[in-house]
Amino acid sequence: MSSRFARAKSRACIAVGVAAALSASVGVAAATAAKPAAKAKSSTFVVGATSSVLKLDPDIVTNFLDFQALGVIYDPLVQYNASSKIVPDLATSWKYSNGGKALTFVLRRNVKFDDGTTFTSANVVASIKRAQAKATDDPSASYVASVTKVVPQGKYKVKFVLKTADTSVLDGLTSVNLAMLSTKAIKAGSVAKKPDGTGPFEYKSYTPDQSFTVSANPSYWGGAPKLSSVEFKTIPTESSIAAALKANTVQLGLMTDPTVATHLPSSFKVDKTLDSSYRAIMINSTSSPFSNEDNRLALACAISRQNVVQAALLGQGESVGPVPLGQYKSNPTAAICPTQDTAKAKSYLAAAGNPSGFSFTILVSDDIDGTTSAAMTEVQNELAQVGITMTINNESTSQYVQDWLAGNFQATYAENGANPNPYVMYNRYFGTGASLGKPAGYANSTLASMLTNADAATTPKAEASDYKAVSTFLTKNAVWDWLFDGYQYAAMSSKVKGFILPPDRQLYSLKSVSVG
């Protein structure tokens, strides 16, 4: 009987062997066949990102990859350069007049939309009108809220009439949300279905949750791009983006995780730039314990921002002040306590009548920001050194957003969007009738006036001085605790030439990229 079982076993063994050999042969054959398959696709330059393009209408997008992908199809009137300075795009020059209440643009000539129509002042009028229309729901409409009229001054000149002097209009106009649209497309109602811009690339195809492809615009006013087509491919994890780079199925990977980006083989170039967002502890000063300014100052002095950067981002970031980028960038060493100063923190606690410290709860969401746990644990330990007990309340994304919007917290760890123009960044929090006044947790009429005056300043010198005063006010009064700014990474093969990742993370430089 045992010989029968032995025969059965040997046949079963043979079957397993055959199955294993079959599997292995498929694997090996697949491996050997893979490289030609990858090469066949090499004419398309593939950009890997963890998110996917969600919407095609530039006026309503909110997802960052949408801005990046549509940003290579559409041109704004002006844009930021690598130093976050406003430079010409479809407007070649501009000038304020009438005490800052009129802004006149001279427009670029010989610019064509993908539908063949020519860009003129009529497009500017139609584009701003569409952005301002309630039915559009343009999230950047507030940037042009002060624009009462857009008046054509001939075919290639246009005047913006403003309610009040407002220099932040220019910063708003850099956004893809306020890009120039084809009048023909607006009339046809096709803006949300088929992107039609004047940029270096034109829309080719879109597969939701998978890819968004553009092809070179041969009649681009700045000269046709070298890449014939670019695909924005959704790859859900950064480690998979790194794997795709190594397999050469992706030529440019957009990343935020330093543990992935900095561990790529040396044959890859990794560009990094400070992110256009910053992390801060937003403090609710409307209730105890932070209604007492000395408690806020104690918090500011008890925290070592440098250690927080080390803990949260393995040192791959910088400690920042209220204005983290651009020409009005705050000097982080000008803070009340640029480095941890526990003696000073204790003296502030004593002045507040809390010599042995106090307790508070901080609202966080690990789902929104991967740095949360490490950063908050570090802050918790540092505060404990001066007797401040911080309890961490970690919520899901949706619950966090709701509590954040309602200002339902004593303090919250937040990643907020930065802008080179401090008025754009902070008027929404601290301006008169601020829309985000509740989460800001601090209202002060002096600060609101300072912001309004800075926005109305018509000379660069006055603007710089006003914004420095705003920055000083925010740190002196410990309105919030500004912690750090992390890096964004763009990893690419060393054969990729000409790519630059600017602070606003736009991918305009794809027009100059070539693959050697």
């Binding site: 009987m1 079963a12 063994c13 697949a30 959704t234 397999a247 199925t249 949706s398 929404r428 829309s435």
Partner: protein
């Protein structure tokens, strides 16, 4: 017989209706909505008028009651609605994602059954010997190491060692580019099949061992039947019912349980669609995908019962 079929169909419909209600309620109980998901904390910048506009745009301004019956009515008419996130029809999103997951699940099951049944039979025929020990070792690895660890390791080794990661290329359909399609699905299926194969192996081994001690096996041997006939016709066939049941259950789980592997191997399947849609509070997509998962599970259960009845006359009689 007709009565049995009618009963099963009615219970299936009740189950599916229950699933729709539960999912609808759970989604509405989650804090936040599609507007906050799309805009995050910037939702605070919207004016009241803009919020009303967006409520209308996303179709979330109506009462939950009318939202549910509107959606159910449309679904029964074959209209699954439009994705809130990107305004694409849900049917087309599911239409492109379902074949990917189905193909992955089938390929995984083929590999899993192959591994599980063969190692299970080998182990049961000579328990305690080297073949059995090897099978148990594979089962231990398969059940003990999570598929995302195996998947990440496989991707890292393939890409770093061989510059090979076919799944990161644009997904190729089975009929448009079968060879690339096979490359893209083989490795994720292999990773998934190790866990599935381990479960099937243990079931097979236990079932074969159990049946081998039954009187009818002894009788079959006693009346002089050849070893092969005893093993495959009497022993294996009688041990097959729990194996088929286990395989059916595993296939059901696979259709909804490939989420992480689809993320790691960049496969645009249903699991990835579901995760993205939950994050975006994209109610029509989540409801439809969940309903599809439930329907697949119910159908697979029915099929499993039918196959078991086909194999085992006792179940047919019952």
């Amino acid at each position: 017989m007709l009565l049995i079929i009618a009963k099963r169909v009615i219970s299936t419909l009740i189950t599916l209706f229950g699933v729709t209600v539960v999912i609808f309620v759970i989604l509405r109980l989650l804090p936040g909505n599609a507007i906050e998901s799309a805009m995050g904390t910037n939702a605070g910048l919207l004016s009241h008028g803009q919020i009303l506009q967006l409520d209308h745009y996303y179709g979330i301004g109506q009462s939950p009651f009318s939202q549910f019956f509107d959606w159910l009515g449309a679904t029964l008419r074959g209209n699954l609605g439009v994705s809130l996130a990107n305004r694409v029809s849900v049917a087309s999103l599911i239409g492109s994602a379902f074949p990917v997951t189905l193909e992955l699940a089938i390929m995984t099951m083929i590999l899993g059954v192959l591994i599980g049944v063969l190692f299970g039979v080998i182990g049961a025929l000579r328990p305690g010997r080297w073949g059995d020990a090897a099978g148990q070792g594979v089962a231990l690895v398969g059940l003990g190491i999570p598929s995302f660890v195996l998947g990440t390791a496989a991707v890292t080794i393939m890409s770093s060692g061989f510059g090979y990661f076919p799944s990161s290329q644009t997904y190729a359909g089975l009929f448009s580019d079968p060879w690339l399609n096979l490359q893209q699905l083989f490795f994720p299926a292999l990773v998934l099949s190790i866990g599935i194969g381990a479960a099937i192996m243990r079931t097979t081994r236990t079932a074969v061992l159990d049946v081998s001690t039954q009187n009818f096996i002894r009788t079959a041997r006693g009346k002089g039947l050849r070893g092969q006939a005893v093993i495959w016709r009497h022993l294996f066939l009688n041990a097959l019912v729990p194996v088929v049941t286990m395989s059916g259950i595993q296939l059901g789980y696979l259709l909804g349980g490939t989420v992480i592997i689809e993320q790691i191997f960049v496969l645009p399947g249903l699991g990835r669609l579901l995760v993205t849609s939950i994050n975006n509070h994209d109610y029509p997509v989540v409801q439809s995908v969940t309903l599809l998962f439930a329907a697949c599970f119910v159908v697979l259960n029915l099929l499993t019962d039918a196959i078991c009845a086909l194999i085992d006359p006792r179940q047919r009689d019952n």
